[in-house]
């Protein structure tokens, strides 16, 4: 049963990823990416990480993918379906990638002593706890990063600086502004 599920997930994952990189239509690319990401969530379920699977779907498919679709729409004229997504140099890229995969796969196979059966599951509660204890600093830094990214994205993507408001002329007698101040 588990072998079957793994085989299915692996097949869908690889196929959809291949479509992501080879699809001509940009919207199709992004939607195939959605399939890849959702299938990864299924892989997480197989790895007994259901929490992560749910987060994967909420964040990635709900967040990143939606953003991408928006990007596609905003950068194309809204009425046009045609989205050029040309590829170049498939041949040499394929050779490089095949070599790379060969090296990594060989490394995996050659490494001795990889565990073959998983030990106990990790409950979600333990995950939450480790977020707020062991990995607290990373957690806080991440929140700062998110804020920074948010500000950055807004600044980058907004249309232009609004015209600066005319600066009021300084009052002629600034020191009289508050009347009789007696420190």
């Amino acid at each position: 049963m588990e072998q079957l599920a793994f085989g299915l997930v692996a097949a869908v994952l690889l196929y959809s990823a291949l479509r992501v990189v080879s699809e001509d239509n940009l919207v199709h690319t992004v939607l195939w990416l959605g399939v890849t990401l959702a299938t990864t969530a299924a892989a997480y379920v197989l790895l007994h990480a259901p929490f992560l699977a749910a987060i994967q779907i909420i964040l990635y498919t709900g967040g990143a993918l939606t953003l991408m679709l928006f990007g596609v729409m905003l950068t194309q004229r809204v009425e046009s379906v045609e989205v050029p997504n040309a590829a170049a140099g498939q041949g040499r890229a394929a050779i490089v990638v095949a070599l790379l995969f060969g090296v990594i796969a060989a490394a995996v196979v050659k490494t001795p002593g990889l565990p073959s059966s998983p030990p106990v599951d990790v409950p979600v509660r333990a995950l939450g706890r480790s977020f707020l204890t062991t990995h607290l600093l990373a957690f806080e830094v991440l929140s700062v990063l998110l804020l920074t990214a948010m500000v950055g994205a807004i600044v980058l993507a907004r249309k232009a600086d609004p015209a600066p408001a005319p600066t009021p002329k300084p009052a002629p007698k600034a020191h009289d502004a508050h009347g009789e101040a007696h420190p």
Binding site: N25, V27, H28, L31, G34, A38, A41, P50, F51, A54, I55, I57, I58, T61, G62, G63, L65, T66, L69, F70, M73, V78, E79, V81, V124
Partner: protein, 325 residues
């Protein structure tokens, strides 16, 4: 019983029941809408119009199935079944009574949220594939609305998770059965969270008054403009399914699910779901539609800060009651 077998059988039953309910939900809605507008609603087909849904379905099936020439055929055909699929998949974890649910996931609440986040995809796919300006505008609105209102929705459910100390929906209901319904949590915390959840869920499901993506008066019918016959019917069905399931979710998360005296749990759950769904109808036939910018303002300037504040208040309250666990 073999758990796989149980899951399959249960799913079949659930799908059948839900589909039937959806069909009769349209009848109920038309009846209620009629009463609210001093009309009678459907009366002709069958006793008190009871056969009206079947007549509608037959009518839709007979209609010509049109696919626009410039449309992206594959995606255009994919979108309608996908909506129904996502809507139905959500139902898997709703606990109808103790032990009566397809799968008691540990992370049931998150699962529901994940799927409701996915709900924008078929809508968007359909709108894009139609190659129609109205449809695309509607799709953009749907996506913007979906990802915006997902945040308060997520946060409100997070508050429930925080109070229940579990993410399993049946666990959440059990906690309510033991300690009292979440809607009745002190200081109006539960009520406020529920209100937040309800508004966000209405908007997430594109229900009136948040139906800007469809907006018949400006966008014809939004993403579904180009759809005909049963494909349109599927969209229509998914919308009703989704609203019923959201009502069920609200009942499970806040109103104690199957918890209730005397009658069996299933009765209570159905009663509460139906009640909540009727409130949605009430809202639908009472309010006017928001403008798109008003929707965004409501979400980002009011609901999101409010939900963050509520989350903090809930954390303080839980800490005060239970201490550090």
């Amino acid at each position: 019983m073999n758990p796989w077998l149980h899951a399959v059988l249960y799913s079949l039953v659930l799908v059948t029941v839900l589909m039937t309910c959806t069909a009769y939900a349209t009848w109920l809605e038309r009846k209620v809408a009629g009463r609210m507008q001093s009309r009678l609603g459907p009366t002709r087909v069958g006793f008190a119009g009871l056969l009206q849904p079947i007549a509608d379905a037959l009518k839709l099936l007979q209609k010509e199935d049109i696919v626009p020439l410039a449309a992206d055929r594959a995606l255009f055909n994919l979108a309608p079944p996908l909506t129904v699929f996502f809507a139905l998949a959500t139902a898997a974890v709703i606990p109808f009574s103790p032990g009566l649910l397809a799968s008691d996931l540990d992370i049931g609440a998150l699962y529901v949220l994940a799927l409701s986040g996915l709900m924008v995809f078929p809508v968007w796919i359909g709108s894009w594939a139609s190659n129609n300006k109205y449809a695309l505008l509607g799709g953009m609105r749907a996506v913007a609305q979906g990802i915006s209102y997902e945040i308060p929705l997520l946060l409100s459910v997070t508050i429930v998770i925080l109070m229940a100390d579990t993410m399993s929906l049946s666990g959440i209901v059990q906690v309510q059965a033991d300690e009292g319904w979440f809607i009745a949590r002190p200081f109006g915390l539960g009520l406020a969270t529920f209100a937040l959840f309800f508004v966000a869920a209405l908007a997430e499901g594109n229900r009136i008054p948040f139906d800007t993506p469809e907006a018949e008066s400006e966008l014809v019918a939004g993403p579904t403009t180009e759809y005909t016959g049963m494909k349109f019917g599927l969209f229509y069905m998914a919308e009703y399914l989704h609203s019923i399931i959201v009502a069920g979710l609200g009942a499970a998360l806040f109103l104690g699910g199957w918890d209730g005296p005397i009658a069996p749990g299933l009765h209570w759950m159905v009663l509460k779901t139906l009640g909540l769904w009727m409130v949605m109808l009430w809202a639908r036939w009472t309010f006017l539609r928001f403008r798109t910018d008003q929707m965004m303002t409501l979400c980002w300037r009011y609901l999101v800060p409010a939900s963050l504040g509520l989350l903090m208040a809930a954390a303080v309250w839980v800490h005060a009651v239970h201490g550090v666990s």
